[in-house]
Subunit: 374 residues, 2 copies
């Protein structure tokens, strides 16, 4: 079955849809748990199914360094390698090359960089990054893009979108020759850049949509810019992206950022927030965040969130979770991660239901009311 | 239902039995996964049920320091606190006081020591240790004993058994006044000491059995003595312990040690071996140990053990597990722990079946043959 996106309803900007891939469907708007190295830290694929994850994200840069795309390919592709038989999206590694690695040289050809692990030298060209992702076996692949920091002067941001468009063309050309792996389809999304400059964002959208990708990501946000600039830029971009293709806001974000992204027509999100926070003992609830290590939880035998129906909230108390974190026990991060991702995925399910019922605005108002009544 | 032990069959020294507690039954011979701080490191109680654990072990010394027995008691006892509704045995903390803590003073009254975590001062008397375990809510509690190192001169070993007997009497006296917690029974086992001196071991057994405990542990072994001394001492002790009470060989051991312990009439075992090894990436198989990080596993897409039926062996390859350990991913220790404990518990189940069928000797022979054919 070929990759497809169906749009069922739009309610005050919020879109209800469905993506179909050869590894299964994804109800949108969707949150994709981050599984950088082919594992959502501390969770098993069975846990992820239990909490309702439709798709996870892995990372090209990280998997290229460890264990290497050759190992993943020989293991049957990322899904079989990690025992997850649902869709996987791989980020291109552009962001990691510019943020984690020691950068040696960037040119129209590609990026030369040194591994953050052992200093070994690598060259990422747009073609090579497509090849790596084909080997990894991602259902949805991302083009190599040039990410810029915030704030960034306009000239640099312009150079970056020009190069990103050039690389998008090269990636598109590359994938023409290899689009099937073991009988399943692997599609490539473009990435819109342009920092917070409206004219650059518009130009980036125009150049990328001319290449007709099956989906588009909005990159270069959530990198330190004020929230209003993030939302304004998102809105500007989604308004001119084709309606019939999924839009993915990369690296976003807090629950409220996701709500606002959805209000602006975004279909897909990913963020390390729920998983990274969990490992530090910070959990999300319907009334805001809770720091489990706080002394107030020492003899609190209630659940993290009385309104949450997850396995962790049904079986474990804040006092027990605090004990696990205080003692550095491995079960602590695991249970907190399970809860946080359930919280995110359940939030998205609630939002999808509200869009279906044309009550997204009312749902959003209630969402903010709950948090204020904290 | 009161605590009981039933013996079904004895096959060439190996005993098949069943312990009943108010939190459920334990088929013996049994291996008890170690959950020192009220968690079997990285596993959930659901995992433990899946792999067939009947009982787990927690530790009085560790739980007293963190989170404190008051917190565990207010949380409904260790079973409710950790969401494990099966039996729990608590070690008295004697071993930890003598091995982990800074020791200040030992007398007939008890042991004064400093916490290995923050240097805080504590006094463990036999009475206090019973009180702590009653608060923790263990189904099976252990008396405070004086552990000696190996080798140990005979005079010191004699002092230690005399004090252990005195403390056993004091513990027994203490428990007379508090033996029920929320309606469930908590029983106390005695601990035989005496290093590797046959006459001291005999005397220790005589003094403890005179107190008529519902079960007896063999302490002070697996502390560095040669294997033959461990087995000889075990045999000497089990031969004179009452037949109708369970015997627990503390801190033992490797799979082959457990097999030999069972051959000498032991009913219960505990050891950190499967869990600690798992966290270092060493896993047990029917043909011996495997170090997952070894390069040979890099592209080995077979399971840890083709003869193992556990969830990990059914779903994950050695190559994936190696990748998790090389990348320091939390899922690695979790999956390895799951497999290792399954391996141990499955081994015990096989042995119980062989005793039932009066084929323990044949089973033991096959067990060693499998390992030699490695």
């Amino acid at each position: 079955m070929p990759f497809s996106f169906e749009l069922f309803n739009v309610d005050h900007g919020a879109r209800l849809g469905h993506i179909e891939t050869d590894h299964g469907g994804i109800d949108t708007p969707a949150f994709m748990p981050v599984g950088t190295l082919g594992t959502v830290k501390s969770l098993s694929p069975r846990d992820l199914c239990e909490i309702g994850a439709d798709i996870i994200l892995a990372n090209t840069y990280h998997l290229h360094l460890r264990p290497g795309e050759d190992v993943v390919a020989r293991g049957g592709g990322i899904q079989q390698f990690m025992s997850w038989n649902k869709p996987v999206l791989t980020d291109s590694g552009g962001y990691q090359v510019f943020s984690l690695a020691d950068l040696n040289r960037i040119s129209d050809e590609g990026v030369e960089f040194q591994s953050h692990i052992d200093g070994s030298k690598h060259l990422f060209t747009p073609e090579r990054v497509v090849d790596i992702q084909l080997d990894i076996g991602a259902d949805i692949m991302m083009v190599l893009d040039q990410c810029v920091e915030y704030p960034c002067d306009k000239e640099k941001a312009r150079d970056a979108i020009e190069r990103t468009s050039l690389w998008a063309q090269k990636s598109k050309d590359r994938i023409r020759y290899r689009t099937k792996r073991d009988g399943y389809q692997q599609v490539l999304f473009g990435i819109v850049q342009g920092s917070v400059f409206p004219d650059l964002r518009k130009r980036s959208v125009e150049e990328l949509t001319a290449l007709d990708f099956p989906g588009y990501a909005i990159g270069g946000l959530s990198v330190g810019e004020p929230k209003n600039e993030m939302f304004d830029t998102t809105e500007l971009v989604t308004e001119i992206l084709p309606i019939d293709k999924p839009r993915y806001l990369m690296g976003v974000g807090f629950p409220e950022d996701i709500v606002e992204g959805i209000a602006r027509g975004v279909d897909m999100f990913d963020c390390v927030m729920p998983t990274r926070n969990a490992r530090n003992g910070t959990v999300f609830t319907s009334r805001g965040k809770v720091v489990l290590k706080n002394a107030v939880n020492k003899v609190d035998f209630g659940p993290i969130d009385p309104e949450c129906g997850c396995d962790v909230c049904k079986n474990y108390s804040r006092a027990y979770l605090r004990h696990l974190f205080m003692a550095g026990e491995l079960l602590g991060p695991r249970l907190a991660t399970y809860h946080n991702l359930y919280f995110y995925l359940h939030l998205l399910a609630e939002i999808r239901q509200s869009i279906k019922e044309n009550s997204f605005l009312r749902w959003r108002k209630e969402f903010y009311n709950r948090r204020e009544s904290k």
